[in-house]
């Protein structure tokens, strides 16, 4: 079953549930089922979560490439906000009671200014429809910060991510933003994930070490330091059991890099032309940089630059201009985006989340169905049993879900193989092309591919028969064998068919 066919089968199960429930006094469930069904046709939902002031809105803007989500020095995002592609620009307030109300909005200095009609407590989420190429494949969801001094904001995020209950989350995948933390801190993992996040798993989560430009006191090597720290986190066993990897991103630099104007570039050039004796003291601190008594460039322009780039960004641009490497807005923008780490993050989204988008969505929908079954089970056990049966039938037949589960078990340490074997399992169950999944070069002949697949089947079949293996390990081996079988079949077929023809 391919991912698309799995999605179709899942939709069929949802529809069967609807037909069972419609007219039976289950209006609420039917409504929810319709939403679950719709989800299968939407882009992947990626939530951006993390502690208060981790830079979530800034990162969202950087990923969209436009300044949409409002940002501020203080805590700013008070309600969960969805940013999705659409045919027109519209902002809708969705109440806790399900009511939808379209809101007027302005763009103030680039970011959206929205007048909420209800209090944050009454709002389930804001739905921002925004025609954008970046939102075509993913819907981005901005959340209020965890560990907020204003408790109600944190509660809203925890509600949304379904941190504490068994309710499935509305997000299919999570980008978790973290500030620099200590690995011995017992809060570390909690800050990381609030680790009971019911749907979270290394298969659908990426962590971002955010505000990377501030880590090294804004020195020129700040982002490199941040990268080093991120890779150290990523090699921590406990971190790996929570997310697939950690990358450092300087959100503000990225956001501004994508929206830098020629005027801003001209101001930067003007500053870069200053004498070193004047420039040095100016760049020493934020207060000095905007000091009205200093004469280089109008103070308000300096303040604008600082707000857009931060002290690190300003220093970076000026250093590069003075070195003669760049000069125009386009060139500066390229440097900023490159240094920010955004490219790496986008690459991860593209390679890690998107190829599995359908499977992840199916997983969300299935856990939604299970939760619903648990809920109606008290009043109508027969109905619940039918729903669960449908879910289980799907789960049993879908190799994609088995692979996803295997990767989860492997990454969380529930099933352990040696390092080499673990890498092999990850490769085989991965999302790249057939040859790459077999560990062969792209131009490997079909015969070579078959041979590799057969060797894999043999190896893992033998291993699965070891008497010392626990049940989970045995199941894991069976999944790997199954994946190799799929690859063996795919090696015969032309690539286009291979994608659809596994299993």
């Amino acid at each position: 079953m391919s991912a698309d066919r799995l999605a179709h089968a899942t939709e069929a199960v949802v529809e069967r549930c609807i037909s069972l429930m419609v007219g039976g006094g289950h209006d609420h469930e039917v409504h929810e089922l319709a939403r679950l069904r719709a989800r299968l046709h939407e882009p992947l939902r990626v939530a951006i979560a993390g502690r208060v002031k981790a830079g979530k809105s800034t990162l969202l803007n950087a990923l969209v490439g436009e300044r949409l989500a409002p940002t501020d020095a203080g805590e700013c995002t008070k309600v969960v906000s969805w940013y999705r592609d659409g045919h027109t620009y519209a902002v809708t307030e969705v109440g806790r009671d399900g009511g939808r109300r379209e809101l007027p909005f302005r763009r103030d200095g680039g970011t959206l200014e929205i007048d909420l009609q209800s209090t944050p407590a009454e709002i389930d989420h804001l739905d921002v429809m925004w025609p954008s190429r970046s939102l075509r494949e993913v819907t981005l969801i901005d959340t209020p910060g965890l560990a907020s001094a204003d408790d109600t904001n944190s509660v809203r995020t925890r509600d949304f991510l379904a941190v504490e209950d068994d309710r499935p989350s509305d997000a299919d995948a999570v980008i978790y933003l973290m500030r620099h933390m200590h690995r011995l801190d017992s809060e570390f993992l909690e800050t990381f994930f609030d680790h009971t996040l019911s749907n979270a798993s290394p298969v659908n989560a990426i962590a971002v070490l955010s505000r990377a430009d501030e880590i090294g006191a804004g020195r020129m090597d700040a982002v490199d330091t941040a990268r080093r720290i991120a890779s150290r986190y990523a090699s921590d066993e406990r971190v790996r059991s929570l997310c697939s990897t950690v990358v450092a991103v300087a959100g503000l630099i990225a956001e501004t890099g994508l929206t830098l104007t020629e005027a801003e570039a001209a101001w930067l050039r003007q500053l870069a032309a200053l004498d070193a004796s004047e420039l040095g003291p100016l760049l020493l601190s934020a207060d000095r940089f905007v000091d009205p008594t200093r004469t280089a460039l109008a103070p308000e322009n300096r303040a604008d630059l600082l707000a857009r780039l931060g002290l690190f960004g300003v220093r970076l641009c000026i250093a590069r201009i003075r070195a003669g490497e760049v000069s125009t807005a386009v060139e500066l923008a390229r440097v900023l985006v490159e240094v920010s780490g955004l490219t790496e993050l986008s690459g991860l989204l593209r390679d890690h989340f998107l190829p599995r988008a359908r499977t992840l969505q199916v997983r969300s929908v299935l856990s939604g169905l299970r939760a619903m079954a648990a809920r109606v089970g008290a009043s109508d056990p027969a109905l619940a049993a039918t729903v669960v049966a449908g879910v289980e039938e799907l789960e049993a037949g879908a190799h994609e879900l088995a692979e996803l589960r295997l990767v989860h078990l492997l990454l969380t340490g529930m099933v352990s193989f040696g390092d080499d074997d673990a890498a092999e399992v990850r490769r085989v169950t991965g999302t790249s092309g057939t040859a790459a999944r077999l560990g062969l070069p792209d131009d490997a002949s079909p015969a070579e591919q078959q041979a590799a697949a057969l060797a894999g089947i043999e190896k893992w079949r033998v291993r699965g028969e070891r008497p010392t293996l626990d049940p989970a390990g045995r199941e894991a081996c069976a999944v790997v064998v199954r994946s190799y079988e799929g690859l063996y079949a795919a090696a015969f077929a032309p690539p286009s068919v291979a994608d659809a023809g596994v299993a």
Partner: protein, 611 residues
């Protein structure tokens, strides 16, 4: 805020010094020295300033900014991992206290090696078992008697660390809470500040890294709002350690002002050091007044003999009786000595009992909760609760021990007073009780909630803070160690697998949970055993020290009083033998001295003048 450095009540200290001078003139070096020592203490009272904050907020840079030199290692990534105490010294020196097989060993090391012992990089997970590092460093702030305690950043406000730090706060004179200007205060930070505000007299929020944040003023306003909301009366001081370091390097006064450090140092001086000075100056005043009374009594009885040599015999006899009585007091059979022994024995068994009781309670908490442990969240909570419970009960024990020591000192003073007898007072002119009770109770309570530190003279200056630092160092070394062991046993992967659960996995999960529980039980048991052993040892040795110090101090005072009585006797007999001319001359001298004493007495305020 003024920029003049004003030592608290100067007239008072001048009068005290006057008494010292008078004592020296009268050949009473023992009294003179005691007063001079208390004046020195009043000029540089021991004040303890604790620096606390979450990981990576710029704690070490703040400490460097305060002492005015780059002494604590600063790194973008790797944090300070050991408790560091900075005190004044003529040149930089570093002493490392580490625990080797239960024994505390202190070694002086090259200052250049500091990073290798106090950072995560040089000493990962504190594998060297370092409990505390004392750094001596020349600094204008420290020269005023300030000790800076830099709490390790490893734990931040998490789990047991917060508990250990909070337990220490009653011993601190001020808390500098470090948070950077990149974000407003978070919920855990605010919760900690609210607790800290309850436990420490002065809490100051230092907003660091303002050089990097253009909107730091907004953050100040937001933090102000948060602090007001939770009712914490703490000033917010914006600082830039980067500007401070640059200003010191270039000797740039303007930049120094910009760094915010001068304002912070002023605040510390006005609200922390001066307060401590006032308390210490009052103490010096009391001691001086007591000494003055002794001196005046000696002069009065000499004058009486000079004016009427007939009374000499009676005076000498009274003084000799007093000497004999004091001699008896030096013997082991003296009642005060028995009172001291009894009090300390009962304190010992009381503390021992409370400690065993606390240990039982810890084990019970662990056993009760382990059985119900089902997911990672509950596990983390258990871990935190056990650490908190241990930290708080150990802190309570230390406080109780200090209180017991004060009570014992008071009982000893009472017994001594009864034993010395009222009739000695006119002879040596002293109210003995006042000598032992170095601080009046209501003042003590005003000064600190634990009442521990102000015993000052009696139990040894800074004793309270010392037990506090001991406590912090000990729990600090135990807790991260525990967190690491426990962290590895953390069944975290188990809780998030639910969404993927099939039967085989769920069965296995159950097995893993019970395995995990077993591991946790072992780890916690080890942690509690270690705490039990270390705290037990610490209690025994503290009680022994208290006992010895009380005995020594009473002994010294008795010797001093005996000396006063002997002075009276010898002056009286000498005076009686003088011829008329010499007597007249001596009378003038004694009257002069008495007049001088009277004047100093007026400055010192109301003190009992015999007759």
């Amino acid at each position: 805020m003024s920029n003049t450095s004003a030592p608290a009540p100067p007239d008072l200290l001048a009068s005290a010094l006057g008494v010292a001078e008078l004592a020296a003139t009268m050949d009473r070096r023992d009294l003179a020295e005691r007063i001079r020592a208390s004046v020195t203490r009043a000029r540089r009272p021991g004040t303890v300033v604790v620096v606390i904050g979450e990981f990576k907020q710029g704690k070490s840079s703040l400490v460097n900014g305060l002492v005015g030199r780059g002494i604590c290692p600063v790194d973008d990534d790797i944090a300070t991992s050991a408790l560091t105490v900075l005190v004044d010294a003529p040149e930089v020196n570093v002493v490392v206290h580490r625990r080797v097989e239960g024994e505390l060993r202190s070694v002086a090391i090259e200052p250049g090696l500091l990073p290798s012992v106090v950072t995560e990089h040089g000493n990962p997970g504190n594998q060297l078992g370092i409990e505390r590092v004392d750094v001596g460093v020349p600094s204008r702030l420290l020269a005023q008697g300030v000790a800076i305690v830099d709490s390790p950043g490893a734990g931040g406000l998490g789990a047991g660390h917060a508990a250990a730090t909070l337990a220490f706060l009653p011993y601190a004179d001020a808390v500098l809470f470090v948070t950077d200007a990149s974000a407003e205060l978070s919920a855990p930070e605010l919760a900690f500040l609210a607790e800290a505000g309850e436990r420490c007299r002065r809490v100051v929020v230092c907003l660091t890294k303002i050089d990097l944040q253009p909107r730091w003023r907004d953050i100040v306003a937001l933090d102000r709002g948060h602090l007001d909301r939770v009712g914490v009366d703490a000033p917010i001081m914006p600082v830039s350690s980067l500007l401070r370091a640059a200003a010191i390097e270039h000797r740039d006064r303007e930049m120094n002002d910009e760094s915010g450090y001068p304002a912070l140092l002023d605040l510390l001086r006005d609200e922390v050091i001066d307060k401590a000075r006032e308390v210490a100056a009052e103490q010096a005043e009391r001691e001086a007044a007591d000494a003055l009374t002794q001196l005046q009594a000696a002069l009065q009885s000499e004058l009486a003999v000079l004016q009427d040599p007939v009374v000499a015999a009676a005076t000498v006899q009274a003084a000799e009786e007093a000497i004999a009585r004091f001699e008896h007091l030096k013997l082991a059979g003296a009642r005060w000595s028995q009172v001291l022994n009894d009090r300390l024995t009962s304190l010992n068994s009381d503390i021992g009992f409370s400690f065993r009781d606390a240990q039982r309670a810890w084990s019970k908490t662990v056993e009760d909760r382990l059985e119900k442990l089902s997911n990672a969240k509950a596990w983390d909570l258990l871990c935190r609760d056990v650490q908190t419970e241990v930290a708080e009960s150990v802190a309570a024990l230390v406080a109780r021990m200090d209180e017991g020591a004060i009570a014992a000192a008071e009982a000893v003073a009472e017994a001594l007073d009864a034993e010395v007898g009222v009739d000695v007072h006119p002879v040596i002119g002293v109210d003995t009780g006042a000598l032992w009770q170095s601080a009046r109770r209501e003042e003590r309570d005003k000064v600190t909630k634990t009442a521990a530190r102000s015993v000052g003279q009696t139990v040894g200056a800074l004793r309270g803070a010392q037990s506090g630092i001991m406590l912090l160092g000990m729990l600090g070394t135990l807790l991260p160690g525990a967190a690491t062991t426990l962290g590895l046993a953390n069944p975290i992967g188990l809780s998030i697998g639910a969404a993927f659960g099939v039967k085989a996995v769920l069965d296995q999960r159950k097995r893993r949970v019970s395995e995990g529980r077993q591991k946790i039980r072992m780890a916690l048991k080890q942690f509690l055993d270690e705490v039990g052993f270390r705290v037990g040892n610490e209690i025994t040795s503290s009680l022994r020290t208290i006992h010895q110090q009380l005995r020594d101090q009473v002994g010294e005072r008795v010797t001093e009083l005996q000396r006063s009585a002997a002075e009276v006797a010898s002056q009286a007999s000498q005076a009686a033998q003088l011829d008329a001319e010499a007597r007249a001359a001596r009378t003038v001298v004694v009257k002069g001295l008495l007049a001088a004493a009277g004047e100093i007495g007026l400055d010192l305020g109301d003190q009992p003048v015999p007759r």
